[in-house]
């Protein structure tokens, strides 16, 4: 068949009962063998639905995540920091392009995803609903929010869906620059003047609660989670991801002499981190639209969409039309 032959069937039901049991068994066996699923392979509707949701949210997070950092490009301290931050923000938007393509292979068109973002139907990472007051907030994102994202992305890169894994391999390679750059920025603040140290400490105080929210609430081990983990859509529980992040980065923050605003944060004998339970009511409130920057983030996207319309119209040719990408 010519490329783009596989069309989206639409999701009829969440239930696995409607699936062909033989095909389902073959599908699960392939994942157990460690093989990747490709776009034209048979897959359960639930798998398709959850992957679209996950990859799409990831793509939106890259686009929206570029906003709180992008705002600092003109004010970054010095030419080198400006160049680096510009390259980083360009990377993030590029990552969104890769991820949208991966989600499209599952049958949802890019324009539909953009529509769902600006109408508020689709979500993006909650942490980007908070403002970057100072340069130190921007450094916190570059270092620690990216670190959190890398923990998630490295895990997901071992997932079962081929196009998503290939996009993530490329993304993770670029993220290593972000992480080193972010750490570099924070080391400079830490070893600088008392005012610089204070700036980062204040940023840390502001960003720690949303950073703990970043990995999501504790999963209840439901049948739903269990099936998604078996299909390698979800590669670890939210608590496992959070624990891994704390394990890797709390020592590095302490090493720089900063205080993490949680008196209960400590590692227990088994190597698991204990912490004050994050405020999940606030998390829910912000995710549902009542955060400090939700309106601004979506409004920026809406304005861009409206102002760019004439350009898209002018470029459109009847000769080419949308098809689903190949792989």
């Amino acid at each position: 068949m010519y490329g783009g032959g596989n069309t989206f069937e639409g999701i009829k039901t969440d239930s696995l009962a409607a699936e062909d049991p033989i095909k389902l068994a073959e599908f699960e066996a392939r994942i157990t063998r460690g093989e990747k699923i490709e776009p034209t392979d048979w897959m359960p509707q639930l798998y398709r639905k959850q992957l679209i949701r996950m990859i799409e949210q990831h793509a939106h997070s890259e686009i929206i995540g570029a906003l709180p950092e992008g705002t600092w490009i003109t004010r970054a301290p010095g030419f080198k920091r400006k160049m680096a931050l510009m390259a980083k923000v360009q990377d993030e938007v590029g990552h969104a392009q890769l991820l949208y393509s991966a989600a499209e292979t599952l049958g949802k068109s890019r324009e539909q995803m953009i529509d769902d973002l600006i109408t508020g139907k689709s979500k993006y990472s909650n942490i980007f609903n908070y403002p970057t007051y100072t340069w130190a907030d921007c450094c916190f994102i570059s270092w620690l929010v990216d670190a959190g994202a890398i923990v998630n992305q490295l895990a997901n890169a071992k997932g079962s869906y081929g196009p998503y894994c290939r996009a993530l391999d490329r993304i993770c390679a670029e993220e290593s620059f972000h992480l080193k750059y972010g750490h570099h920025c924070v080391i400079y603040l830490a070893s600088g003047t008392a005012k610089q140290r204070q700036m980062f400490q204040e940023a840390l105080n502001r960003w720690w609660p949303p950073m703990m929210h970043f990995f999501g609430p504790s999963d209840k081990i439901s049948a739903h989670t269990e099936v998604l983990m078996r299909w390698k859509v979800k590669m670890g529980t939210n608590d496992e991801m959070r624990n891994q992040f704390l394990d890797m980065y709390v020592p590095k923050i302490w090493e720089l002499g900063f205080t993490i605003p949680d008196p209960n944060l400590r590692k227990d004998e088994t190597g698991k981190w204990e912490y004050t339970e994050p405020d999940w009511e606030e998390f829910k409130r912000v995710i549902n639209g009542d955060g400090p920057c939700n309106k601004e983030r979506l409004e920026v996207r809406r304005v861009a969409e409206a102002r760019g319309k004439w350009v898209r119209e002018a470029l459109k040719t009847p000769k080419t039309s949308y098809v689903t990408p190949l792989a």
């Binding site: 990747k36 705002t71 890019r110 620059f177 750490h183 070893s191 898209r312 459109k316």
Partner: protein, 201 residues
């Protein structure tokens, strides 16, 4: 709008609601192929959306070759990629090609891409001459079927491809100068060590 960012605060107010896009009424899809090093085969990297081949090439350059070494890239409309069935296990995609009688007409070149490991990229293996893409796959089976399992084969009419011109190849020569985009340019170790020494003593 109230914003900490003066540029956002200055944005005009858009009164009309943004109308949803007509489903699938959007730019075309193009597949992107990159040659990472001189002498290495081209491999499939992903896709971009663009109004035409020229802009697809520009977007492909921005999306896929900001990092890593690259000596050349090309793009082709997704509709111009002819795809064999996808197989798994010990089934060879070459064995599943339908028979095709020799076609009358002038032969043209087709670029052949193979998938030899599921989960990895399609990689270029060579160029064949045929009238139809179906025939090109059969030609490829004769030339490139070594018995090792191939899971998927693509045939792309060479004439449909937007190649990189020799002058454009200079674009990638500056990549090694842009060290500020590499993790290796951010060595904070000495500064960190000095800081720690100062604080311990």
């Amino acid at each position: 709008m109230n914003s900490l960012d003066p540029r956002v605060a200055r944005l005009p107010k858009i009164n009309e609601p943004v109308s949803p896009k007509v489903p699938l009424d959007q730019f075309g899809t193009f597949e992107v192929f990159v040659q990472p090093k001189e002498g290495k085969p081209f491999q499939h990297e992903g896709s971009v959306h663009a109004p035409d081949l020229e802009l697809a090439w520009v977007l492909a350059k921005e999306t896929f070759t900001r990092r890593f070494t690259c000596t050349s890239l090309y793009v082709v409309n997704t509709r111009d990629v002819y795809v064999s069935p996808l197989t798994e296990g010990d089934k060879n995609a070459y064995d599943l090609l339908p028979e095709i009688t020799e076609q009358a007409g002038s032969k043209k070149d087709f670029e052949i891409y193979q998938l030899t490991k599921r989960g990895k990229q399609h990689v270029h293996v060579g160029t064949v001459q045929a009238v139809l893409p179906q025939e090109a796959l059969v030609q490829a089976a004769k030339l490139y079927n070594t018995g090792n399992i191939v899971y998927n084969v693509w045939a792309i009419a060479t004439a449909a491809i937007r190649f990189t011109t020799p002058e454009e190849k200079e674009l990638w020569l500056t990549l090694p100068e842009k060290k500020f985009r590499d993790a290796s340019d951010y060595k904070g170790g000495d500064k960190l060590k000095n800081f720690l020494d100062r604080n311990i003593s």
